[in-house]
């Protein structure tokens, strides 16, 4: 029994709709439910799920579609009634003070004429339009939306530079202004480290490691993953460096990104050389072309470690696996005496964490596959937040189910012996991601055990004690499922390689006891 309704001109954001669909699916008699805006991409998803009706096909991008497949008429009608109640309850046209919410940026600015920043996370098709409006009104822009055309990104960043403003993004997941997080952000204390980041999870990881080292963030300027491409040419990275160089709260700077385009690297190095403060660069996989006044490091944890050492005035060397701890963990795994598959499967929610793991593990285990292609390979590392996995569904940091399904599936794959995982906490992320991951891993392990195989889980957690999920509790939940928790993603990647190939011990752990 399929029933659907279209609510004309009724916009709801994707997180609200994800939660709505979740609560409908949980109702008695409901087999499947969807709550989506009527964009062309969503129309395809609805059709593929067998939830399209004559009426839903008439919906436009501004219309809300609610579709329910249920065991009976009564169950479908009850679910639609529940959806109406939930949406109406949620969508108050007034704010807490009884004022009508503004519908445009111009009216919002009448309410808050001294606004400093606009956060924009509307669908990609409208994002550049709204960002241009915000920049033209003199606001810094945090542009979370993705699927913004490259030409629009360049035009927006050129406009921002002309106006002396930041255009953080598109596809900027995380930023900090005055120590306060925007978007997906771990809760950290305001401090003296300024960051420029072409990677949201990279910035989160560095901020969380800094917090553990007792250092806080002055500003973390996100620039979006394409800023250091040849086309964009580092327009925002260089502006961010200029701003942090003169910012009185910033005493040292960390630059975080994947490797810049070869043509952009010299410009980045020149911009860094202009900065009179200590600079640490973590361009995962890139080395400076020329002698650099900055310290270049190769992992996110080392970026935090190096800058904390500079500020604390103490010596620093790149981190490596703790030999004694790793030998003890490895001995624990080996004592179980299980037969395991030869392969390592990395299932990541953080794209830069996946990239970092691949860079560290490929020299140890050989070239990694980054997709699910059915082949049995010694190393597969997949970023489940990648566009190809998030079309029409929320990012796995918001909705852990997509990864949980893959984790459970890994339990049935006799080629896999080690699962490598990340867990990213912080504002905007799922309220209890560890529970979903721990349950899925425990199930995968039971499935493997029933077939006479073992499965080792290795993970790291990006989080701080002040995050809403609570770092200690999330770590404890993963540990209780038997997952090995390492202090950083780099260590987790190295340890996963060690479990898969214990003969790597001399190179990874040195020749100690």
């Amino acid at each position: 029994m399929l029933r659907a309704e279209v609510w004309r001109s009724f916009y709801q954001d994707s997180v609200v709709l994800m939660r709505l669909a979740e609560s409908l699916r949980a109702l008695d008699g409901v087999e499947e439910a969807a709550a989506l805006m009527g964009t062309p991409a969503n129309q395809d998803i609805l059709a593929a799920a067998g939830l399209a009706t004559e009426e839903t096909r008439t919906a436009t991008p501004g219309d809300l579609i609610i579709a329910v497949r249920a065991a009976s008429h009564a169950a479908a009608a009850a679910a639609l009634g529940r959806a109406r109640a939930l949406v109406v309850e949620r969508r108050q046209p007034t704010d807490g003070g009884g004022r009508v919410r503004p519908r445009t940026l111009a009216t919002a600015l009448r309410e808050m004429p001294d606004a400093t920043v606009a956060l924009i996370s509307v669908p990609g098709a409208y994002a550049a339009f709204e960002a241009r409006r915000a920049l033209n009104h003199g606001l810094h822009v945090f542009l979370f939306s993705d699927h913004v055309p490259l030409a629009d990104e360049i035009a927006l960043k050129q406009l921002a530079r002309r106006r002396g403003l930041l255009c953080m993004g598109p596809d900027c997941g995380t930023a900090y202004l005055g120590g306060i997080g925007l978007g997906f952000a771990n809760v950290v204390k305001p401090g003296r480290v300024g960051c420029v980041a072409a990677s949201g999870t990279g910035l989160q990881a560095v901020a969380a490691h800094l917090a553990a080292l007792g250092e806080g963030i002055s500003h973390g300027i996100g620039v979006g993953g394409r800023d250091l491409s040849a086309e964009v040419g580092g327009l925002m990275t260089t502006l961010a460096l200029e701003l942090l160089a003169t910012d009185p709260a910033t005493e040292a700077i960390v630059v975080i990104s994947k490797p810049p385009a070869p043509d952009v690297l010299p410009a980045l190095e020149r911009a860094i050389a202009q900065v009179a403060k200590p600079v640490v660069v973590c361009c995962l996989g890139a080395r400076p072309a020329a002698a650099s006044p900055a310290r270049w490091v190769s992992t996110l944890a080392d970026a935090a470690g190096a800058v904390a050492a500079v500020l604390g005035g103490h010596p620093w060397t790149p981190s490596r696996l703790d030999a004694a701890d790793s030998r003890a963990r490895l001995a624990g795994v080996e004592r179980r005496g299980e037969k395991r598959g030869p392969g390592v499967l990395g299932l990541y929610t953080g794209g830069t964490l996946a990239h970092e793991a691949r860079l560290l593990m490929e020299p140890l285990l050989g070239q990694a596959s980054t997709r699910f292609d059915g082949a049995s390979v010694p190393l597969r590392i997949v970023d489940l937040g990648d566009d190809e996995f998030t079309v029409g569904r929320p990012h796995p940091m918001l909705d852990p189910e997509a990864r949980s399904a893959r984790v459970r599936e890994a339990g049935r794959d006799q080629g896999i012996g080690v699962l490598l995982l990340d867990l990213v906490l912080g504002r905007a992320a799922h309220p209890d991601p560890a529970r979903a991951l721990a349950d899925a891993f425990a199930e995968a392990r039971r499935t493997a055990a029933a077939e006479g195989r073992g499965l080792v889980g290795v993970a790291s957690v990006v989080g701080t004690p002040d995050d809403p999920q609570g770092l200690t509790g999330q770590v404890a939940t993963l540990r209780s499922a038997g997952i090995e928790i390492l202090p950083s993603n780099a260590d987790a990647a190295r340890f996963a390689a060690l479990v898969a190939r214990p003969a790597l011990a001399p190179s990874l752990l040195g020749d100690g006891p």
Partner: protein, 66 residues
């Protein structure tokens, strides 16, 4: 070209899109106005492009905010 706006100003935010971002900022004590946003130009791409062009012509006359 305008001088870059310094970063030190206290954060005051306008939020368009995911309401969770506004809720998080409010929880951190940041003043925030959340828009009751809906697709501009009724979601019509041709109309949106036209609107963008009109606004750009208009904005090129406007001085940058101090």
């Amino acid at each position: 070209m305008t001088e870059p706006q310094p970063l030190g100003a206290p954060l005051r935010a306008i939020n368009l899109g995911l309401e969770v971002f506004a809720e998080d900022l409010a929880a951190a004590g940041v003043p925030v106005v959340h828009l009751d946003w809906r697709p501009p130009a009724g979601g019509d791409p041709a109309l949106l492009a036209l609107l963008a062009r009109l606004e750009d012509d208009d904005e090129s006359e406007r001085p940058a905010r101090a």
